[in-house]
Amino acid sequence: MKIAALASVMAMSCMAADLSGNWIAQIATQGEPQYTRVSLKVDGNTLSGMWGESKIDGTLTGARLDIKLSDAEGNLAGTLTGMLAGDTFTGTGVISAGRGGRGGGRAGGGPVNFTLARPAIPPATPRTINFEPTNFFGTYSAANKPALTIFPGDVVHTWTADAGGVDAKGIQHRGGDSNIGPFYVEGALPGDTLVVHLLKVRTNRPTARQGTRINAHAITAAWLTGAEVDPKVTGEWTLLPDKGIAVPTHPSEHMKNYSVPLKPMLGCISVAPAGDEQFRGGDLGPFGGNMDYNDNVEGTTLYFPVFHAGALLGMGDGHAAMGDGEVTGSALETSMDVDFSVEVIKGDSSGQVRAETRDYLIAFGVTGSVPESIQVATSQLATWIKKDYKLNDSEVAILFASTLKYEITELVDSRYNVVAKVPKSILASMK
């Protein structure tokens, strides 16, 4: 009896000791749940730690948790009570609404139901995963079921079909800029940044197809109404990756010797859009999507704001080459072999997608008009540089006025995309 009782006490204390460490709190709301990173420290029956940016003071009595949260100024920010069952605490309480408190008056807060669960444990060493896509999603939405769960550091070898859904073997999948994935990235929570390294983006078949009419946003109405279709121009391409060029398959008279340099890129790359939003594959927004940036190539790193747990990364719509603005409504559309790896920057996110190439830091501005896209891209880049390089508004203004470059990347889809970028060589010289 005595031994059994002792064993029981030991088990209890063991369990108590194990509760220290990192947790993910999930608070149910009428919409999507809110996630908060929580760290607990157990000392006997006393609990301390952090709940997001709030300090924890509390007790652990058997399986029962009672905690009080206080904000940076020491004001009461909430009280919570829960019970441990298995690996998860479930409970209720009152919590101040975090977002409403920022900038405005004090938020009222309200009753909440919460769970506290352990984050997934990453593998001892990053994995290399060969992912063979079988499902192609045509709508950007958090409702798409993840095709694969990966951890930061993992490398994925995969491939994408072209915008029309045709893969390297000629098999037809769903078209309409449908994407492979989504990939659930463990450890990515709303408010974080998902980092995607494009390790390899290479064409994997010898053909591509392109439109041969200029879109109305790229050319005057007068030119458009006067334009005559030349039936000899087919828009079919032969890709010669060994030579690094593409040539027209059935060249017209003037294009017998015409060739363009290959610059394989991903037209679409995305996380799931915010909340219950859904967008078609051809669309684009703060979640990325059909951004059609011709520097989203092998070697480029992309930074996405995370709107949902796991981020839900997807990609597709490869182009063997593309002029600025995708003025014919399509580029050299083809399928791709893609290798990528992911990382998560916790607790920091930007308004829209950003990127980094060998030479530039890049901010995208996706909106309903080109002038607004210019403003959003510039503002996002300015916010980034101010924060990371500790510049004031005058300093970032003069830096941009002397070195900023713009690119018009998307003129022909549901929304416009303009890129603002600064050379890394200049940024390196500043520090």
């Binding site: 294009m255 017998k256 002029g323 390089y389 003069i398």
Partner: protein, 444 residues
């Protein structure tokens, strides 16, 4: 007076006398034709290249795009014009003056005759003056500017007459009117050097300007440090806390080709590559139009393109005889869009040459660098500027490379690049460009 010089002067006098006789006897050669309607001024009159061939009393030749036939009987000239379709396009009659012919007549307006319904002729007065004789050898001028003009207008009197092939060494003041030597000229406001009258350039031609040399000639440049509202969101602009004491002065080192900002706390040693450019370069705008120095349009002006650098060639539509070329507003470097309203404003030494492509018209300004053919689109909005720039470039490809509309679409879909060059002045400017390396693979 030595004997050699004496002989030369005699020869010169003989030559002048001889050439006078020639004019009287032979109307053959190149002339400038002016047609002035009842509501026209000298600025809105129509000017054409005219060539005459006299054979006895018979005259033949061309008046702009029209074919010309007529008679010269004593001092009396009678001309009839026919269009490219062989239809009558007008009659002119007049008399000889001193090195000129002038008179009255009626002419179908050449521009409006194309495409639309048949045009009835307009009553005109007309004048023929001899085209300036091109010197045997191109000249090089050192032009020291003393006046700077703040308004793009054909009313600005030319400061120098030059011929195609000539080279000019000169300088420009900065946008605020300052230069290397003198504290301040005039009122600033992007005042320009010139205008230069290019002999042989007439409306409907293209003026070619090659920037042979651009070098900053003072050790400093100034730049603004507040974002213009077209470049950032309203939220950003409202939240921005600008430092009222921020010093936007740069030190320029043209030998090392770098510019260094006056140190601030966050930018203790910001050094950027110099890329010296001309913000303003222009011909006189059409008709009686007048624009301030900061404005831009189909005539060029404050285009603020950061590839208008040494080695770049610009192509301007000519709206007035002599084109009236001007330039100014140099920047030691500038980011795209000139987002704070200025570049690294400074003064420069400029060397340029000019040429004229007769009878070749572009709707707006074009350029050519080492790597690209470039077309500008200046308009009241960025989206429209994108369309204009693309369209002008497409027209260029059609005309010079004989491409079909579908071939142009394919080409642009593959390799087109856009630059947003001007966001902050009275009009917007977008550049559309194609790489010359790819164009080299086309069969014209």
């Amino acid at each position: 007076m030595n004997k050699k010089l004496h002989t030369a002067i005699l020869a010169l006098i003989a030559g002048i006398a001889f050439s006078r006789t020639c004019v009287a006897a032979d109307a053959s050669g190149d002339w400038v034709g002016q047609l002035t309607g009842p509501f026209d001024s000298d600025y809105t009159a129509q000017y054409n290249h005219v060539s005459l061939k006299a054979d006895g009393t018979k005259l033949s030749g061309r008046w702009g795009t029209y074919k010309l036939a007529g008679t010269l009987t004593g001092a009396r000239m009678e001309l009839s014009l026919t269009d490219t379709g062989g239809k009558p396009a007008g009659t002119l009659s007049g008399a000889q003056g001193e090195d000129t012919f002038s008179g009255t007549g009626s002419v179908v307006p050449a521009r409006r005759a194309v495409g639309g319904a048949a045009q009835s002729p307009n009553a005109v007065t007309w004048k023929l003056t001899r085209a300036a004789a091109v010197p045997a050898k191109p000249k090089t001028y050192d032009y020291e500017p003393t006046v700077f003009y703040g308004t793009y207008s054909a009313a600005e009197p030319p400061v120098l007459h030059i011929f195609p092939g000539d080279t000019v060494n000169t300088r420009t003041i900065d946008a605020n009117g300052r230069d290397a030597n003198v504290p301040r000229h005039g009122t600033g406001g992007d005042a320009n050097t010139g205008p230069f009258y290019i002999e042989g350039a007439l409306p409907g031609d293209t003026l070619v300007v090659k920037l042979v040399k651009l070098r900053t000639n003072k050790p400093t440049a100034r730049q603004g440090s507040r974002f213009n509202q077209h470049a950032v969101t309203l939220a950003y602009a409202l939240a921005a806390k600008y430092d009222p004491n921020f010093n936007g002065e740069w030190k320029l080192d043209p030998d090392k080709n770098v510019a260094t900002l006056t140190p601030s706390e966050g930018l203790p040693h910001l050094t950027i590559p110099m890329k010296t450019m001309l913000g303003c370069i222009s011909v006189a705008p059409p008709g009686e139009e007048q624009y301030r120095g900061t404005d831009l349009g189909v005539f060029g002006g404050n285009l603020d393109y950061n590839d208008n650098v040494q080695g770049t060639t610009l192509y301007f539509p000519v709206f007035h005889p002599g084109a009236l070329l001007g330039m100014g507003d140099a920047h030691g470097a500038m980011g795209d869009g000139e987002v704070v309203g200025t570049g690294l404003e400074t003064s420069v030494d400029v060397t340029f040459t000019v040429d004229v492509i007769k009878g070749y018209t572009t709707p707006q300004v074009r350029a050519e660098t080492n790597d690209y053919l470039i077309s500008f689109g200046v308009s009241g909005s960025v989206p429209e500027s994108i369309q204009l720039a693309t369209t002008q470039l497409a027209d260029w490809m059609k005309k010079d490379y004989n491409l079909t509309d579908s071939e142009i679409a394919l080409l642009f879909g593959d390799v087109l690049k856009y630059d947003i060059t001007e966001l902050v002045d009275p009009h917007f400017n977008v550049a559309a460009k194609v790489p010359k390396s790819v164009l080299a693979t086309l069969n014209k």
